[in-house]
């Protein structure tokens, strides 16, 4: 699975995360508000990247359940930042689907005034890069 290895490397590159720093303390999962919605839990994300099983990761429900609230990034004692890994996995999916980025100018038209602020912030975080 050469491509899986390459994908894992790419995820590390996009996220800037070194998953080997993880001490398996689980504070990310402990702090995650979407924990119950997730099939692969935040702390497991790190293991999946280490094991280079990117396939399962990008096909997981969790990928789109993460709120990008970055509580895990904030509280991780080891600077591993699972949230960034999740973000990176999304990036990879988005990139594969053919670079369908929104232009910044297009966004205001799409906005619904009823949308919760949190969602907007998350969306910007997600699509910033």
């Amino acid at each position: 699975m050469g491509s899986e290895k390459k994908q894992a490397e790419m995820m590390k590159e996009i996220s800037g995360v070194n998953p080997l720093k993880c001490m398996k303390c689980g504070k990310c999962s402990a702090t995650c508000p979407s924990y119950n919605e997730m099939d692969i839990k935040p702390h497991q994300f790190v293991s999946y990247v280490i094991n280079e099983d990117i396939e399962s990761l990008v096909n997981s429900k969790s990928l789109w359940k993460c709120l990008s609230c970055f509580a895990c990034v904030e509280r991780c004692p080891r600077d591993v930042k699972p949230g960034k890994l999740i973000d990176a996995a999304r990036q990879m999916v988005v990139r594969q689907k053919g670079q369908d980025y929104l232009l910044a100018d297009e966004i205001p038209e799409l906005l619904d005034p009823e949308l919760p602020q949190q969602l907007l912030v998350s969306a910007f975080r997600r699509y910033r890069r």
Partner: protein
């Protein structure tokens, strides 16, 4: 012309892995004066040293260069080896091709080139070396111990038992330190006070030990064997000689609002106080910040009730100057500040406490008289959650990167004690790893789990939420069950990371002892000289050197004592011969050097000189070799170049510069 031998060390693959060592040896033979060059696996080994000795004898070498690790590591080793073979030890120079070359340059060609240049510089220097003879300096047979905790007490007792005088300087009003605040000690669960107080009493009663409490080290000068230390005895406002320790003043003191340091601020004390009942000396101090007399001028009740007339509001700080041969640092630790960890709600809820605070809560002399109760409402808790690694093993700047070492064991101890005394209380411990290396340690932890039913959960806590009803909602992970846990608790106990006492930085600076990025004092060698500072005559005892538990601290305290005794047992020390020397023919007698000498080692004498046939009396500088420490400040201040430093002479350094720029 010198006959120089060059010895290139492989250091296993440490050097040979990045530097072509045989090439360095080969190139060495082309340098002026070099008559012998070889490379070998481990130059510092006995076989390597034997090779050096053999070459010195066979080839009648007059100087050697060892291309190896840092001179800070093995310069002394190679000097001794040379000396055994009959060569003056100061005819040895080290080219540092490990720390400064092979370890940082991965490209073999580049690293080899640099190693050759470093070798050349060392050869150029040794070509100008002259044999030097070490002088002697005296040893003051008294030791100073900074810090009066268990480490300091033990070190002082061991030194005193060997027959040497020891002074302990303790910042707080009593000796005892952190250990005096603990309730029980692992893994035997004996009461801390029961094993500590006899030692405190022994130290106080020992005729060789003098204790300065409520005192701080103000200034340190001198060097190994001959330190001069100024100790500030802070004004106690109580006459130590008159006070009987009856305690009436503390009882009658109307100002009782000062937070008790001893009880970690969980309750209050009077303005005139002893930190705890078994304090040594049992003489109170007046906290001038809290005292009504000092704040308003009125009151003076303590003075009125004191039968002995010991209260002295006029007392002033006093500076005592003493001489010491050795200094032991035993400044201990404190727990870190938790203000950057708002997720644990420490500071938001009184029921979230640190482990050291729990020690006070569990202690009979503590704020709750030993009853386990919530500090918010005094109710007995039913659910207690312990969180491990709070601020330890943390990669960011909120905490500390190291393991605090003691938390796993004291948490097991707390859990066990609570389950033992209050079987109806549920105890949960969230952990990342449980680390219990130590005699009877793992057995202790397993007993907590198996015998006392403490619930250990692999996973960290993400947040603690104080609820309106006073309960605490703990959200954590259970990584083994792969679930998120939401747990209601009555109390949360944080195993807070420990850090060196913040004062240690100031003290290290005074002692010119080095300190690492975490403020722990650096040892002279991490493995082989763990209780000595790289600064001669300074020894390390206890947590100031790194996290450790009580048995380790006591063991290290003894080790530091032995090292200090080893120094004090000597009548004289060999001094560094790399001192400044003035050339009488060049000296102008201008006094500039005298003005920059930090040791007062330079004086002036009228000397009869013969300057190429001109006989006259001149005012010339004279260096006292016992005082000179070889810094070289004078050599640069001297405009004529009359002042030079042996072992680092102007010509030697210039030869190195030339060799590097060649």
């Amino acid at each position: 012309m010198q006959r120089i031998g060059v010895f290139v060390c492989h250091c296993g693959s440490n050097i040979a892995g990045a530097v072509d060592v045989s090439k360095v040896a080969e190139m060495a033979l082309m340098e002026p004066g070099v008559v012998h060059a070889e490379d070998y696996q481990y130059m510092c080994s006995e076989a390597g040293q034997a090779k050096i000795a053999a070459a010195i004898l066979e080839k009648s070498l007059t100087g050697i260069v060892v291309c190896s690790c840092s001179p800070r590591m093995h310069e002394a080793t190679f000097r001794k080896a040379a000396e055994r073979a009959g060569l003056n030890p100061y005819m040895v120079e080290i080219a540092n091709i490990r720390e400064h070359c092979s370890w940082i340059h991965k490209d073999m060609e580049e690293a080899t080139k640099k190693a050759v240049i470093l070798m050349r510089a060392a050869v150029a220097k040794v070509n100008l070396n002259t044999p030097l003879q070490a002088g002697e300096s005296r040893v003051t047979k008294r030791a100073l111990v900074i810090g009066g905790g268990i480490a300091g007490i033990q070190t002082a007792l061991d030194i005193a038992d060997a027959g040497y005088e020891v002074d302990i300087v303790e910042k707080t009003p009593s000796i005892g330190g952190r250990m005096s605040q603990l309730d029980k000690t692992f893994p035997t669960l004996d009461c801390s006070a029961c094993i500590l107080t006899p030692k405190m009493v022994e130290a106080a009663a020992h005729d060789k030990i003098k204790i300065y409490t409520y005192s701080e080290v103000e200034k340190v000068s001198g060097f190994v064997g001959d330190f001069t230390v100024d100790i500030r005895k802070k004004a106690r406002s109580v006459d130590m000689n008159k006070c009987t320790g009856c305690g009436v003043c503390q009882e009658k003191c109307p100002s009782k609002k000062a937070p008790s340091e001893f009880n970690r601020g969980l309750n209050t004390r009077s303005a005139i106080y002893t930190p705890f009942a078994q304090a040594i000396p049992n003489v109170p101090v007046i906290d001038r910040e809290a005292c009504i007399k000092f704040k308003t001028g009125k009151c003076g009740i303590c003075s009125k009730v004191c039968q002995a007339g010991a209260i002295d509001y006029e007392q002033k700080d006093e500076i005592v100057t003493e001489k010491y041969g050795a200094i032991v640092v035993a400044t201990g630790f404190d727990t870190i500040q938790l203000d950057k960890y708002d997720e644990y709600a420490y500071g938001q809820s009184k029921d979230v406490i640190t482990s050291l605070e729990l020690e006070r809560v569990m202690n009979a002399a503590g704020p709750t008289h030993g009853h386990l109760e919530r500090l918010s409402d005094g109710k007995a808790p039913k659910e207690i959650v312990f969180i491990q690694c709070v601020g330890s093993r943390c990669a960011d700047d909120r905490g500390k990167p190291y393991c605090s070492k003691i938390c796993c064991m004291y948490t097991a101890k707390h859990a066990m004690l609570i389950r033992d005394k209050y079987p109806d209380v549920n105890v949960t411990v969230f952990y990342i790893d449980v680390r219990t290396p130590g005699k009877n340690f793992d057995e202790f932890y397993r007993r907590a789990v198996e015998q006392y039913g403490v619930n250990y959960i692999k996973g960290q806590v993400g947040k603690v939420i104080p609820k309106p009803d006073g309960k605490l909602l703990v959200q954590g992970s259970d990584l083994l069950d792969n679930r998120q846990i939401l747990k209601e608790a009555d109390m949360v106990v944080l195993a807070t990371a420990i850090e060196p006492n913040p004062d240690v930085r100031k003290i290290a600076t005074m002692l010119t002892a080095s300190i690492d990025t975490n403020n722990f004092l650096t040892e002279a060698h991490a493995k082989l000289r763990p209780v000595e500072s790289p600064t001669a005559g300074i020894f390390l005892s206890g947590v100031c050197q790194g996290p450790k538990d009580i048995p380790e601290t006591v063991a290290q305290a003894g080790a530091a004592a032995v090292k200090a005794i080893g120094l004090l047992a000597k009548d004289k020390l060999m001094t560094n011969p790399c001192t400044a020397q003035a050339d009488v023919l060049l000296c102008n007698g201008c006094s500039t050097c005298e003005n920059v000498c930090p040791y007062g080692a330079i004086t002036y004498e009228d000397k009869e000189v013969n300057d190429h046939g001109i006989r006259e009396t001149r005012r010339v500088a004279v260096v006292n070799n016992a005082l000179c420490q070889g810094c070289g400040a004078c050599t640069v201040a001297c405009p004529s170049g009359a002042m030079d430093l042996q072992g680092f002479s102007n010509r030697q350094i210039i030869a190195e510069v030339d060799a590097i720029c060649r």
